[in-house]
């Protein structure tokens, strides 16, 4: 997913709630816990038993005495555990980009917001293989004393969810009120409903389908190719002063194209030239859209690890709910589910199209499970799940109220 701010068009930028706002959770800090060690390794889909695993997570609101108000939020490709609120000293955490902005879903998580922190206990953790605090390819392999790089095992959405289950157990939560996520976060929400059907009351799946389309696989393949053919890549053994920033930047540019839509690009940039009225007759940045993509590439390279990008996209590619739980039959896979479902697609999303999202809805219907599906009219493309805040907020807060009442 892209940065919600950058994805918004000009003046429609939503103002951040500052840390002292009654609608902000205020200042927060990440926690870290070891959830797999030598005696209790994490079984991975690739076959290995992996340890040690540390998980970075953040929590907001208060767990009720009955421990029945916990909601796990699941981040997407480039996300982290910092879903809401502000860091007091982002530089010290090594996250300087959070200096002037709150967590990535601050518009949805806070007092009086869709995930209302006065009612619910909100948890968000960084996934395995990412580069924001949870063990990943940038972590030091204790066996070698060096970063894992590409010796890190290939991880899956299933592995992520198994690790998240350990986290909620660690937090003393038997049954989640809900899990919620968009994009690959939505795929984790699907996986939760199938892997741990009795550990949650509801699953909220935004802009995600039970598997990525061939077109989506193709975009990810090009992204990884760009990283791996960057001369700085060095088979993943690069050091941070010579990271494959160019390759990672190209990967991010491709990603961004898939997060927008034809119409949102047209509205945001059109064919406008950057700082000029006439074409430059050169190969430097000419068009606004070009300038935007290059800006995205640069800022992303400063905050993300190239190896992690390979692992994250691979997890996205491999995810297939029907193979994981139904021998290739999606309806059979869905028969495991027990929870209530809210599935949301967006009309202009061409990464996870409404038709693909609807396949999951149909699989649930075929098992006569209660499901709410909304296809929201939006021109924002895939990024709509971060931007259509008003409709989604109303939908999610009402849905959660219904689930909590049962």
């Amino acid at each position: 997913m892209s940065d919600p701010l950058n994805a918004l068009v000009g003046k429609s930028v939503r103002k951040h709630d500052p840390p002292d706002s009654p609608r902000s959770v205020g200042y927060v800090e990440p926690h870290r816990v070891r959830l797999a060690d030598e005696n209790n390794p994490l079984p991975l889909d690739c076959g290995s038993l992996f340890f040690p695993v540390d998980v970075e997570y953040e929590v907001f609101g208060e767990l009720s005495p009955k421990r029945d108000n916990a909601i796990l939020i699941l981040h997407a490709l480039s996300g982290d555990a910092h879903v809401a609120g502000w860091y007091r000293d982002p530089e010290a955490l090594g996250r300087p980009w959070y200096k002037d902005r709150p967590g990535w879903w601050d518009s949805m998580v806070g007092p009086g917001k869709a995930f209302d922190t006065t009612k619910y206990f909100i948890i968000c953790s960084n996934v395995l293989g990412s580069c924001y605090g949870t063990t990943g390819p940038t972590s030091i392999n204790p066996a070698t004393g060096k970063p894992y790089g590409l010796t890190f095992p290939v991880v899956t959405v299933g592995d992520w969810v198994r690790l998240q289950e350990r986290l909620i157990t660690h937090l003393g939560i038997e049954k989640l009120l809900a899990v919620a996520g968009g994009s690959i976060g939505g795929q984790q929400a699907i996986e939760w409903g199938l892997a741990f059907p009795d550990r949650l009351k509801a699953s909220i799946v935004l802009a995600a389908s039970p598997s990525l389309s061939a077109q989506g696989l193709a975009f990810n393949a090009v992204a990884r190719h760009a990283i791996r053919t960057d001369p700085n890549f060095q088979d993943g053994l690069y050091d941070n002063s010579h990271a494959p920033e160019k390759g990672l930047g190209v990967a991010r540019m491709i990603g961004h194209i898939t997060y927008l839509s034809e119409i949102s690009m047209e509205r945001k940039f059109g064919r406008r030239l950057r700082n000029r009225k006439e074409p430059g007759f050169h190969f430097d940045v000419d068009f606004e859209v070009e300038s935007y993509l290059i800006h995205q590439a640069r800022s992303f390279s400063e905050r993300f690890d190239a190896n992690s990008y390979l692992y994250m996209t691979k997890a996205m590619d491999y995810y297939d709910a029907s193979l994981n739980w139904g021998d290739g039959d999606l309806t059979k896979a869905a028969s495991r589910a027990r929870c209530a479902w809210l599935v949301v697609s967006f009309t202009s999303d061409w990464l996870y199209t409404p038709a693909q999202c609807k396949e999951w809805v149909n699989a649930l219907c075929a098992n006569r499970l209660p499901v709410t599906y909304v296809n929201i009219e939006s021109s924002y493309g895939h990024d709509a799940f971060l931007l259509e805040v008003d409709t989604i907020s109303r939908l999610i807060s009402d849905f959660l109220e219904g689930v909590a009442a049962k």
């Binding site: 149909n362 219907c365 075929a366 006569r368 209660p370 499901v371 909304v374 409709t391 009402d398």
Partner: protein
């Protein structure tokens, strides 16, 4: 209009004396070019009937479920397993606020996700006349439901006929309150039409009810003229 239908109207005028006053009033209104206005939401006569028809614990799929009020009542009074389908976003959001599970979809696209006979009842309340492909909808609902409930406004009602006959314009009545160019009712039908069509589709009519003059009762033949709305319970093996 056929000769027999003219005869129907005349017969009604003769047999149902109270109707004449209303007919004259309707004519007067037409002459004044007034259009009857809906005052607030009309009581859903069919809600109460459907709540009576559906036994406790039955599973119910409501097609075109609107704000979800029928399903919410069924859940609360009959412990039904409920599922709605609705096209309009605002209504879908109203369903969610009632805790009613609802799928935003166009009925004309069929009910692909639902398996055969997976619901005890499938309800199509005041919606048949608004879909583009009523044949697809009725075939699919009788596939998914063991029993189906269909209600619709009767275009054969005397007031409708009178307006069309006397004024030569598309009728605007309390039951059909829209002008021809703004109406969502694109498949207008009469009770007689529906009965014949059920025969063509191989659908069994298990029960039928009429709504006329503010009350609901079992349907009789003359209701093609007297009923403002009708409700059928149908099924297909």
């Amino acid at each position: 209009m056929s000769v027999s239908e003219y005869r129907d109207i005349l017969q009604a005028f003769l047999e149902n004396r109270p109707v004449i006053g209303e007919a004259l009033a309707a004519l007067a209104m037409l002459e004044a070019r007034g259009i009857p206005q809906e005052e607030g939401p009309r009581e859903r006569w069919d809600h109460a009937l459907i709540l009576n028809l559906i036994p406790e614990g039955a599973s119910v799929l409501d097609l075109g479920c609107g704000d979800g009020s029928l399903l919410a009542s069924l859940r609360d009074t009959k412990k039904s397993f409920i599922q709605g389908v609705e096209r309009d976003l605002e209504r879908v959001l109203q369903c969610v606020s009632r805790g009613v599970p609802v799928i935003q979809a166009d009925l004309d696209e069929g009910l692909r996700g639902f398996t055969d006979k997976s619901f005890d009842f499938v309800v199509l309340e005041e919606t048949l006349q608004t879909v583009y492909k009523p044949g697809v909808v009725v075939k699919d609902m009788t596939r998914v439901g063991r029993k189906c409930i269909v209600s619709f406004p009767n275009f054969g009602h005397w007031r409708v006929r009178l307006q069309l006959y006397a004024d030569g314009r598309m009728p605007v009545t309390p039951i059909l309150p829209y002008t021809w160019h703004s109406t969502p009712n694109i498949r207008l039908l009469t009770i007689r039409d529906f009965k014949e069509w059920c025969g063509e589709l191989g659908v069994t009519i298990e029960a039928a009810y009429a709504y006329a003059d503010g009350e609901c009762r079992p349907l009789v033949d003359i209701d093609n003229l007297l009923a403002e709305e009708a409700l059928f319970v149908i099924s297909k093996d």
